[in-house]
């Protein structure tokens, strides 16, 4: 059919590589290599932005240390005061790392969620993960209910985690009954959101004023309650989740073409979806348990990543992770410096920072 007589549109002339099948035909995928290199550069740039955000986040805080003092305290160089070292190592560093890890976890979870549900509006919280976590936290804070023999500081996170994880298992059980598609999963998720929200309201109704206040603050999201154990757990969860997600990158990319097609390509769609949901629930449940509900990041991180590198999951997954981490890291920074001496809830800051970036990228893309 490709008769030599037919006029052909010009291809990128700088490509000299030709397919071995037909040595005379011009290369048709010209420019794709350049696209790949551009995406690699985007990933490196995101990593750079993240590092800058992290350094600023560590260096700046209400204690008013100079950059020089911070650096000395961080590296334990002589001349650093004992208080400076404590501030850096027990407060700023774990918090800055928490911001990065939670941002990365929620954004990665959101990216996978959007892919398996084929829904750009999906985030770990669409399916009621956060509502379930809130209910667990409310039970602990307001009614004091939770697992016995736990130290009180771990009661709220443990409860939040168990309910978040449990909600995903229930969701799985509901959808496994009859090979349900993504649309049904979303509907079950929405049912879950409303059920847990009603339960939370019920518990709030009987709450004392102090408990209620404490709970409301928890739902705003805060990274100021985390220390090294939480950082270690979050890092471990990410160290488990990201490599397994990345290993499934081609299956996830294929899923973008629809379930039937992916399955016909040999992707075990049901099993893939199950494993992804387990990963998402682990990441989201841990994040919510430690920092409260910072919902927006799971939606906006993947979106920004998609606008920057497209949906080839080789790039999309790491870009989502880096974007989420960078946005939350900047949010953490701004929450410290916006009102001097006051640490604003990071959940609020995330939305205030993320939304303008998000809108700007969408506008730029629609102009292109």
């Amino acid at each position: 059919m490709t008769s030599a007589m037919r006029s052909r549109r010009p291809f990128f002339p700088d490509q000299t590589h030709t397919a071995p099948i037909d040595l005379e035909a011009p290369d048709q995928t010209g420019g794709y290599d350049r696209l790949i290199r551009r995406r690699q550069r985007v990933l490196v740039a995101l990593l750079g932005i993240l590092l800058i955000a992290f350094v600023l986040d560590v260096a700046i805080g209400p204690a008013g240390l100079s950059l020089d003092q911070s650096l000395k305290a961080l590296l334990g160089i002589e001349g650093a005061s004992r208080t400076d070292i404590v501030i850096l190592w027990s407060v700023r560093l774990p918090q800055a790392l928490t911001a990065i890890l939670v941002g990365a976890a929620l954004s990665l979870a959101g990216a996978e969620m959007q892919t398996i549900l084929d829904n750009p509006l999906a985030s770990p919280f669409t399916l009621g993960v956060s509502s379930a976590a809130s209910f667990g936290a409310a039970l602990a804070m307001i009614l004091g209910a939770g697992l016995p023999f736990l130290p009180t500081t771990w009661l709220v996170p443990t409860n939040a985690f168990l309910f978040a994880f449990g909600s995903v298992l229930v969701l799985q059980a509901l959808t496994l009954r009859r090979g349900a598609g993504s649309d049904r999963l979303v509907l079950f998720g929405i049912a879950m959101v409303f059920s847990f929200n009603a339960l939370v309201a019920l518990v709030q109704f009987v709450a004392s004023e102090t408990a209620l206040q404490q709970f409301v603050f928890w739902t705003m999201g805060s990274i100021s309650r985390t220390g090294w154990p939480e950082v270690a757990l979050l890092a471990a969860a990410l160290a488990l989740a990201f490599p397994t997600a990345f290993a499934a990158r081609w299956h996830l990319t294929a899923l973008r073409f629809g379930e039937d097609r992916a399955q016909s390509f040999g992707v075990p769609v049901a099993r893939l979806r199950f494993v992804v949901l387990i990963r998402i629930s682990l990441l989201a449940a841990l994040s919510v348990a430690f920092v409260g509900t910072i919902g927006f990041i799971g939606l906006v991180g993947p979106h920004i990543a998609r606008l920057l590198v497209g949906e080839d999951h080789r790039f999309f997954l790491p870009a989502s992770l880096l974007t989420g981490a960078a946005v939350l890291s900047f949010a953490s920074l701004v929450s410290k410096i916006l009102v001097a001496g006051t640490l604003l809830p990071i959940g609020i800051m995330t939305s205030l920072i993320g939304i303008p970036v998000f809108v700007a990228l969408i506008l730029r893309r629609s102009e292109a």
């Binding site: 030709t18 397919a19 035909a25 420019g31 039937d260 040999g266």
Partner: protein
């Protein structure tokens, strides 16, 4: 080793209704194109999806030593590729990525090198004349262009059995020919058994080696085009008055005169 496809007593049941009943076809040899035609809701898509293992089905579908209804999904994916009616609209992947993913998702014979993927993608872009779209994201393409990409994804896997659901529905006449030529070429060079749902009866008459006419989940006629498509079989299946006439070049054409009540 070359095998024929033998479909025997295929039945598909949805929870509250029988969609395909005891469907059997004469053995379909390698390198042939079978057009599946029939009125709306006759069960054509269900038929292809059942062959692709996407639906539970009873009966037997033999291909060499394999029973396609019962073999392992991974094994079936090596033999069969199914192309649904449309590609989803909001996908930000480029055409090159879309085709390469079809190969990379589950390579049919072990890992594939980047060079051979590059070569295969290149060849298919050329064959379908869509090289100028190589770097366009799918969400910027027209329906017809997406359909060509969708076909490219299926053909590039070089399956033994290729199931196409309305591969030409969104295409202009020239691209319809492109598609049918590409399908025929892949049938001949790769010795693929192609089953394609076609709505355009004249396209089916012109390109198919065999035609299977489906109505209400039952094969009402099958065989060489001119045997399967007659005024009588069309009247029974579609409830239309039709003529089959030979044009000045000897090609048969279907002319629809009106409805039959």
């Amino acid at each position: 080793m070359e095998h024929a496809l033998k479909i025997d007593g295929l039945s598909v049941q949805y929870p509250n209704r029988q969609v395909i009943t005891d469907l059997s076809l004469p053995s379909l040899p390698a390198g042939t194109l079978t057009a599946v035609i029939g009125p709306n809701a006759a069960g054509k898509t269900t038929f292809l999806r059942a062959l692709a293992g996407l639906l539970p089905a009873a009966g037997e579908v033999r291909f060499g030593k394999w029973d396609l209804l019962r073999c392992r999904p991974a094994e079936r994916a090596r033999l069969v590729t199914y192309m649904p009616q449309s590609l989803p609209q909001g996908v930000a992947l480029t055409v090159v990525e879309a085709i390469a993913t079809a190969l990379r998702a589950a390579p049919s014979s072990g890992p594939i090198s980047a060079e051979s993927i590059h070569a295969a993608v290149n060849a298919i872009l050329r064959r379908l004349d869509i090289g100028h779209l190589a770097l366009s994201p799918l969400d910027r393409l027209s329906g017809g262009q997406r359909q060509l990409v969708s076909l490219a994804q299926a053909i590039v896997r070089r399956p033994k059995i290729l199931l196409l659901d309305e591969p030409t529905s969104a295409l202009d006449p020239r691209h319809q020919i492109d598609v049918m030529e590409a399908v025929r070429e892949s049938a001949i060079t790769d010795r693929t058994i192609v089953l394609a749902v076609l709505h355009d009866l004249n396209l089916a008459l012109r390109w198919a080696d065999t035609i299977a006419l489906l109505a209400d989940g039952i094969v009402t006629a099958s065989g060489p085009p001119e045997d399967a498509v007659t005024a009588q079989t069309l009247a029974d299946a579609y409830k239309v008055a039709a003529r089959i006439e030979r044009c000045s070049r000897g090609q048969s054409h279907v002319l629809i005169d009106g409805k039959i009540d």
